[in-house]
Symmetry: C4
Subunit: 273 residues, 4 copies
């Protein structure tokens, strides 16, 4: 395994802004209806049943385009959801096939998970250009496959808060880094079993952290990749919080909201003169 | 196991309100006096000894009817408590018999737990129409038994924040969904052993989350099912917080407080013209 | 094991106040100097080295008498500390001998722990009248021994927030109940190993919970037993917080600060006419 | 193992101030590029890649000198980072060689870890005078070696919040004590695996605790040793928070910021008349 070469973004990704914000959502793999533990099903189903429609309404209302990372399994089971997301002007990107950890798979299985997920999205008419590893546990093996299968960016790493370019064995990949402090699951139990041992942080406190980070990012010229999950982000007070986050950004000034693919293109590809 | 059909509420459950709030309490199964670990006994006994009387006073003072979910064992051991609750105009509903997880029982045991619990309540003169699964871990098996034993609603699922109707193999059941962010145990250790590894969230912070959620629910036209436990909710500052929650709702406007059974009837049964 | 009979306090424990506050401290069993893990030693030693002197200064400054629960081992190892506490007008009470859980001991061992602890305190000239079980894990066996060895109150149970009387097989015992929401260790890691998996709650947030509870207790006519540990409570911002707690109580009005033994006497013993 | 004798600082360490603040950073041992789990690499690399440069800019902007504790391995792998730190006027101090727990090593291994770490720093032209044990788990064995290898202070113990002198078998060592409530990792998951079970505390809440502690320390005449980690402290809102902490101190008055080595010298060595 050789070291991956990194470089600055090819283009002017800030384009006059002080910071760029990308709102991303990760879709879960829900069990097929009528199968499995009712309690777990019930918890997880909130995301697709209530969360996504409400989030789409919000995004339309505030006029912000977003990026949805989708496991192949979910694309197959919920094609109408994907269609609704795409029709509303949002980006469909890839989060593997089964939505499980790459680090628990062999290399061959990792490749298969990537290819099956991509095929599932393409079969439904979606042509993703970006990837996020489930649980943000990217492997170098999958990173090096991304170019080969036609993807141009990843959004799973945590070693910067500004985008950068990587030269992998397969080609150039743009990275749009994430961070736990901007993830809504960190503040919320997200598994049925987790309910008993983790506390729900109040929505105003989560907003406080997110706006503190965005505000400071206007000074550090950073990229704010929010990572949300419909099962959490679709709750009434969380949707309200997301709206307040957008309001805060607009009131503070200098923040541009953008889809991940649009931003990644500027980062990855040198503009011709 | 076949998929359960779902549908919109039969009647106009909002009836002009922006949101409906149902305050529910879950009664614990306390060990019989003089038996078991004194420390655990002592922790659990607060609920019935101090919490319930104080909560009943509060509900009378603010004029809000509530719903109490009761395990059959508790109905047998504390009949006077149930009588006091019912006399004050509140609803007695069912939370199984032993108050333990359905997911750890065989189907036959699940049926028996449901039937024994119901018999225990009926023997004491209470005729519950609703059910909540202990630890919110409902099984499809018990869900399909509810109509057969004469119950008309469940309040254990998390896949919506508005009520809905289900057509089970046994009949129509109304669902009044719950959520962790509106449960007081999430913010409070609730087992003697838990004391050392979990932090008590301050009452003002819990109120902050609950009012944020209710406030946003006025916009999303949702159902706010608070889930409280006398051992937590009966503490002085928690009772004060519940009063502030009611005050907040009344000051904000558009929120109707209702017993679960009354609401479930509108959801389950089409009104004749 | 027969059930213990309970009753209301014998005397007028409120005596015109709206609530009574008892500030208690639990002394740790520190390893003897020069023995054991330096890191653990270092963490624990803060309590006696810095915490206690600073707490005594505070209590003198604000004019509040307090109660210190002491394991016998600590009384033997740190006799001058106990003397300083007693000289400043505070109460020395008993917390067993070794400071370990009663629930892990046989009955004979429990009796021995109680008697050895008491002997250690008496040898040093202190005559405690009250008891607190380590980790608040009282057993019925020890509770029934308290009268026999000459103690008149316990402060380890959680089934009320007002004092009460118990008629044990050994005699009458007053109970001054505790609660996790009024314990400073709940908000603070308290073991060296705990450092990595538990978060320190900020002092202003802990104060917020304590004052919310005390404030509500003025309405419920309750007993507020604060439970503090010098290793936590002696930190600069925690001492400042305790002072603000006293200030809050005095500004709010109707709160009387009292030593546990003084209060217990009114609860246990009927006043002669 | 004999007990270590302690004494008051040799010199006037407060020198007219009400409190002294020492800002310290602990550098991590990052895996060599291109080796190991990409996700863990990515998380850890933020510290050196983004955190340290941004922190150095901040320290220059606010004019505060700081102390960086460095494992020998890191000194060897990232010599330019150390140079940049030293060139900016900050102190390079020692945190062993491998950055792992002393308590899991034999005495011989502990000695070797100390000597190798020191050699690694000296080879790069840095001559540390102080030591911090990884995870603050100092052993008496290493403490007794510090003088022999030429170090004059330690900053790993928690038994005071003011500096003191120790007479070890090897010589006099100054101690500058730390505490969890002033460590940024306590409020932040710091391992890739930790992401799922621990909540990120919002930056404003952490600042609230730190300023509460510093403010109270102005009254208790204490030493405030902040312990930060570039992987956490380098995030935009955390850097902003550190700046607000300095602003708070300056606005409050009476707080002197100082490097650990400068302070330790006053504590350890009697000034000649």
């Amino acid at each position: 395994m050789e070291e991956i070469q990194r470089g600055a973004p090819a283009g002017d990704w800030l384009a006059g802004a002080s910071a760029v914000a990308v709102i991303t959502f990760e879709l879960a793999v829900e069990a097929p209806p009528g199968r499995g533990d009712l309690s777990v099903l019930s918890h997880d189903a909130y995301g697709s049943r209530v969360g996504i429609p409400r989030i789409l309404q919000l995004l339309t209302r505030v006029g912000v385009p977003a990026t949805f990372f989708v496991p192949g399994v979910t694309a197959t089971r919920a094609p109408h959801t994907l269609e609704a997301i795409a029709m509303a002007g949002h980006e469909i990107a890839l989060m593997g096939h089964a939505g499980t950890r790459l680090t628990a798979m062999s290399r061959a299985e990792q490749t298969e998970d990537l290819e099956r997920g991509l095929a599932a999205l393409r079969e439904r008419g979606h042509n993703p250009t970006g990837y996020r590893a489930p649980y943000w546990q990217l492997t170098q093996h999958v990173l090096e496959q991304l170019s080969r299968v036609g993807l141009t960016y990843d959004s799973s790493l945590m070693d910067d808060d500004r985008p950068y370019r990587m030269r992998t064995s397969g080609g150039v990949i743009a990275e749009l880094p994430v961070h736990w402090s901007l993830d809504d699951r960190e503040q919320h139990p997200f598994a049925a079993e987790g309910a008993m041992g983790m506390q729900v942080e109040s929505s105003p406190r989560v907003l406080e952290q997110w706006t503190a980070e965005l505000d400071a990012m206007r000074g550090t010229r950073s990229l704010c990749v929010l990572s949300c999950h419909p099962v959490v982000a679709g709750r009434p007070s969380r949707v309200a919080m997301l709206e307040q986050f957008v309001d805060f950004a607009r009131h503070a000034g200098g923040v541009r909201f953008e889809r991940a693919d649009k931003l990644a293109q500027v980062v990855a590809v040198p503009r011709r003169p």
